[in-house]
Symmetry: D3
């Protein structure tokens, strides 16, 4: 039994990555993942925030959706004078995920801000942001190395994220919007290239889920992340 778009239960949607889409950013990719399109830009600032120990750097993320990224237009955050709470939550997740890929001491006293702007959202925008944001970050570090600003690559491994969920009691990898909106359970994983977890968020708004189901969803994600990291390697080593 296949899914509405013909995929197997453990199959990712098609992904296309355009490095350098934003020319001014130190690193950038446009990641198109099924119908989801996220522009990820990494910006380097020669200054670390106050809360960071001397000699170390910081990596942070911002996440936002364009007003017409969705089926309905949403008002801009600035017109409501507040960051959407969902964006606040997601950008904290992206930041933590990306920092897991970086040796902050090797980065030195600088800040890299990774902006993830969703041009079109068709499910999985947060994991697309992690996966694409990692690439923007890695490209920015590569540029700092090439320019001699850095002498050692602060990137210490790969990091990617994907979602899985339970739809009609079937466990499915990489939900598109139509699946996501019917899902009983939704789980996001961020993992590294050793198959270890960095972030894990599962939520059962439709129904609770068993510990066994949770494990199966993590396994599905692990499989998807393996493929995503291969893709990242191709982008960085092409």
């Amino acid at each position: 039994m296949t899914r509405q778009d013909g995929r197997a239960f453990d199959e990712l949607r098609g992904i296309r990555i355009t490095p350098g889409f934003a020319e001014f950013a130190e690193g950038s990719v446009l990641i198109e993942w099924g119908g989801t399109k996220v522009l990820c830009c990494a910006s380097v600032e020669e200054r670390a925030p106050h809360h960071v120990p001397g000699g170390e750097g910081w990596v942070t993320a911002e996440y936002a959706m364009l007003p017409r990224a969705n089926r309905e237009r949403s008002r801009r955050d600035v017109s409501k004078l507040k960051l959407a709470p969902r964006s606040a939550e997601i950008q904290r997740l992206i930041g933590r995920s990306l920092r897991a890929a970086v040796d902050l001491k090797a980065l030195g006293e600088r800040t890299i801000t990774v902006d993830c702007d969703v041009l079109q959202g068709d499910g999985g925008t947060r994991t697309a942001s992690v996966t694409g944001g990692y690439l923007a970050l890695a490209l920015a570090c590569r540029k700092l190395l090439a320019e001699g600003v850095l002498h050692r690559d602060p990137i210490v491994g790969y990091v990617a994220g994907v979602s899985a969920g339970i739809v009609d009691d079937r466990l499915l990898l990489d939900l598109c919007y139509a699946e996501d909106s019917r899902a009983m359970v939704d789980l996001n994983c961020v993992m590294n290239d050793r198959g270890e977890l960095i972030e894990l968020q599962g939520t059962g708004e439709g129904r609770p889920f068993t510990v066994d189901e949770q494990q199966s969803l993590v396994r599905l994600c692990a499989k998807g992340i393996g493929a995503l990291i291969e893709l990242q390697k191709n982008v960085l080593h092409s």
Copy 2:
């Protein structure tokens, strides 16, 4: 090998619950959990939000810390004109968790808002908010039943939350602040009285964690949540 406060690795801190602490709220508890103190108040409004289907109700939560809940005073959200992103994230978690305990159709066209205000924060404030917020919510529903506003209890089960983490490579249940600030991995679970998961959030800011470690942390949490739900039953049936 015991912990700094003498607890076993799988032992909860002492918890004291004072129902009815806030007299005007339809339901309220002060939950004191180790050094953490959260005032949870459930307020009923005879109106459902727009996004809810006709005939159904809604349960939502707000979370905030008093300025001097922590070791350092923080500025109030209003003086910064923005909700702390961490609070935004936590109140979304609490809301989802509490809705899992409620039959929104049985609630009818009304909204229950559960305010969780941290008077003192010593670790585990989000899970204390879920655990105490559940009680405030249940007490409010009981009041609506007693007044004849509701004829059927919309509460369909128990919900509680707890954290676990990895400190010095030991897996520990219910981290206090001193442990939390040294933890490599932090994981929060919200579960129901059938041992099913409702929310799961794990994060490895200090180091990544294996899928096996993740499973062990969930098992630790499950044990703690069993004890918490006994405690909730005592409060509601005393």
Copy 3:
């Protein structure tokens, strides 16, 4: 003719003070005054604001109500993106009152912020905040003395506040909410232990009041403040 809660016209409600309710603050009390509960926390910062002459310190206050402190839930200030004007007015009053008890030169170049958060409001929250806030402030100064940070106590006397009002043409001390909401005239006094005025605010929204009535209300307040200052002495010298 007694009042609805059996008090004489010049009698205070029952008051209970719990020093050290908030463990992290340099000084704190929970003041429960009739049905009103205010948590007062004094926080010390080793820095004075710009407008203060060199070598001197500053004392300031913030006042807020929890959303369900009242019979009806109120929206949080941050969700309206503005400090409630009533809170703005009250916190200015508290700050001026507390500064009258302090030798700012003896305090040195530091700031003490007294947060007064109303957990439950049943009338008289501003004067409970002054009376309890004074204690939090004095306890914080005592801690600074004990730690050798200060060598001379900057507290130069006692300060407390109380309200009086005209209800059904009777002059009553210390209005509870039910009386306050029917009062024609409402007057608040803050005084020191020599019976001198520090702050005086009278308002006749229901009807104007004569100069004689105003004087009688001040006398009522003076009596109440005498009792409050005895209570403060007991707390500080027990």
Copy 4:
């Protein structure tokens, strides 16, 4: 012994009132009181706020200072995204004072907003706003009567305000800025034409004040308000 500008201790500064300064407002005056200049405009809206009982109206006030009303330029409220707390306090005082002059039932279901914008501030801006705002309000009501919108004048009496203070231990009426900035004690009264109090605010930031001093300051104010109400009568009956 005279004051720096040659006035007796109980003498008002020179006052000039220009009715109709703002042509579009239903009622307006420019009040120039010594060096203080306040533009008061009353605007009528055919709608009462929600909190008002059916059939009744409401009177409210807003107060603000132009950026260069003072010796130093201040940033605009909007650039700080918050109403100055001092303005919040003052506009509440003005609103309460003006409502004491109005029969809200006779006003009917409409709102009159009195904007008091300080073009130049040289002490006494809040009492100038009450005194001038009353005139703008009365002129607006007169216009509604003339147009047949109202059949009965909702204005039920006169209301004016003035300050007094203690400077160098002398009690002085109507402090100008230079006196105000050196005053130990500052007291504002709003009274009606029967010499009754509507609002009373006294504050001893420099030193506390005795109940006797307080009484003498109220008497000084009462004298000044008598003269101010004569002035108001001249404006309205010329």
Copy 5:
């Protein structure tokens, strides 16, 4: 003498237009104009704003830059809690320009909001927004016609915009960023397909400009706009 990118003084940069870039919007184009990239999305709402006469519709625009659209990263509007004043000015210009192309009566009681989000800014973002926004708007109207929501096309003509400026005393069409940042005079025109002006903004921050120079700049723009409208026709009729 050619320009730094080899263009003649009256030559446009290369322009590429991708209709339908954003799949959920009723009309959208990605316009890439030299190094400038603007995503224009038209969203239809079945409701007109209050200020519009009954039976008529409205067209409005919003303009924003992504944080890393420029050589330096800018903070997001929402983190500053205010719309950038420059964006406020530009989106008003776009809205007025687009309304000139529409018969608001034929549009009926609905609102079309055209979001112009600058993904990359290399000069001329406001005129690219007008030119691309017109296409998004026209495509949305075409969709409403195809769906039978509209029976008559509300688009009454073509509208496009371009800039010209004075750099080193030479008059140049369509300044790129490098030229714009050195320009003495900058002038933007919006015109229709009859060569009539809709908007005209000229500014001489570097030096004033004569009426003759102003006329020559308008002529340069008119030439460019002719070419732009040909381009628009190709997009709409291909």
Copy 6:
């Protein structure tokens, strides 16, 4: 054929200028231009903003309308927590216009902020602000020269602004509100005393306008600005 107020098509309304209206500002004028009244205050601060090259100064402007400047009362910007977009646009225009009159090097490292507050708006408030703001600025510079703070006048020429428009197909100078609200085309010019343009803004919300019409409107403005600069000279040299 004369206009509704009897003026010829190329005739300015009556203008009255009161220098020194605001006593505390370094320079100020009240400009009354027909029914429009704008208070312009120039404030000097001994500090230049960061974006200015070392050794140079800056001139900036802020523009706002009092709530009852118009026929209908508007809500204050601060109560909406945002600067009105129209004000944002206008104050940028005023700032650019005034800087064209100043040698920023001669000003030295200081900032002059020109506040233009519209007390009453009857058309042409932005050009009245430029024309009056120039005088406030020039008076502030004169004061700095008189005090020896400056040794060379940074004012390098005259700057004034006026509007023209097309009403019933007639080209008219200096539209009053009643004309402006019926105008098809509206054009504002800011020019210097050599007849050169500094700012030019034309907009055809009612109908597009030809290049010839645009030229005629600029010629009308040029005539008006000549008269305005004579008036400025009279104020400064009287």
